[in-house]
């Protein structure tokens, strides 16, 4: 396995972690902080775990986005030299060569490479807000609600773009 292969595996693992586990988990933990008449305080241990969880999510998204941008993306966009006939190492041209999926591929990859950059910002904002208020975030309904709208809009869009890109690339591999 080459260096780029290893990084792509890590990238896929981060994608799965972030979008299938951590994103849903973050929504759940923030909403479960909601104060009720019987529960107005969160135990200190839970607050600590939530903080660690949200900061781990934020760091993972930064690594995934900038690793993707500076390591995977140059490999993906590698230019063809004049007499290249084997497109194996030129994913952009390899998938672009199939007319059935070329347009979808272009749309999905253009979308995910740009919109993904918004996700680490949203994750950092949520982690910071949870850290700042700690156990009292449940009583700060306005702050909690509005920050979650920001987080949800960003992540749902990024997830849609990511899933589209992944499914197009799988389709390309099957073809």
């Amino acid at each position: 396995m080459t260096g780029i292969d290893s990084w792509i595996v890590l990238q896929v693992m981060l994608f799965v972690f972030i979008f299938l586990l951590a994103f849903d988990g973050a929504i759940y933990v923030i909403y479960s902080l909601k104060a009720t008449s019987t529960n107005t305080q969160w135990p200190a241990q839970s607050v600590k775990i939530t903080r660690i969880y949200l900061w781990a999510l934020a760091v993972s998204v930064w690594v995934a986005v900038f690793g993707g941008a500076y390591i995977v993306f140059p490999w993906y966009r590698a230019y063809l030299s004049e007499h290249t006939y084997d497109l194996t190492n030129f994913p952009l041209f390899l998938t672009g060569a199939d007319p059935k999926i070329a347009a979808w591929h272009r749309l999905s990859m253009d979308w995910i490479t740009h919109v993904a950059a918004l996700a680490p910002i949203a994750a950092t904002v949520v982690a910071y807000v949870a850290s700042y208020y700690g156990s009292m975030l449940g009583r700060k309904a306005d702050e909690r609600h509005n920050v979650m709208i920001f987080f949800f809009l960003t992540f749902i869009t990024t997830m849609a773009a990511g899933l589209l890109a992944t499914s197009i690339n799988w389709a390309a591999a099957i073809h």
Binding site: F73, Y133, T157
Partner: protein
């Protein structure tokens, strides 16, 4: 079964509740500014073939524009956060208004990074 909380813990809880929302407003608005910056840079680059400055931000070929847009958007986020934090750290801000502005800025980011919009604007 009901155990009284130690006074220092009660004081900490009271402090948490009393915390001004300025730093949180700063983070959220900065998030909106960073997102809008990414959307605007993407839109400028994708709809204007002469906008090489975004390509040049990336620093190397064949990386192209996206890493440059991400880097500058992230820098805008952290810079805006630092400035707004400094200005608002002890203040109570109208959070509903700030979050509306932040979501509007986020929408600029989301629209600017959506490829069909580039095509509509002449890409």
């Amino acid at each position: 079964l009901i155990r009284a909380k130690p006074p220092e813990k009660l004081a900490m809880m009271a402090n948490d509740m009393d915390k001004p929302n300025g730093p949180v407003s700063a983070a959220l608005l900065a998030g909106g500014i960073g997102s809008a910056m990414i959307g605007i840079l993407t839109l400028i680059h994708e709809t204007n073939t002469n906008a090489n400055f975004v390509n040049n931000m990336a620093g190397s070929n064949p990386v192209g524009a996206p890493p440059g847009e991400s880097s500058y958007g992230s820098m805008a986020f952290f810079l805006a956060w630092a400035i707004l934090y400094f200005v608002w750290k002890d203040k109570e801000i109208n959070f509903t208004r700030i979050s509306s502005i932040a979501v509007a800025l986020l929408m600029i980011g989301l629209i600017g990074t959506y490829p069909p919009v580039w095509h509509l604007l002449g890409y």
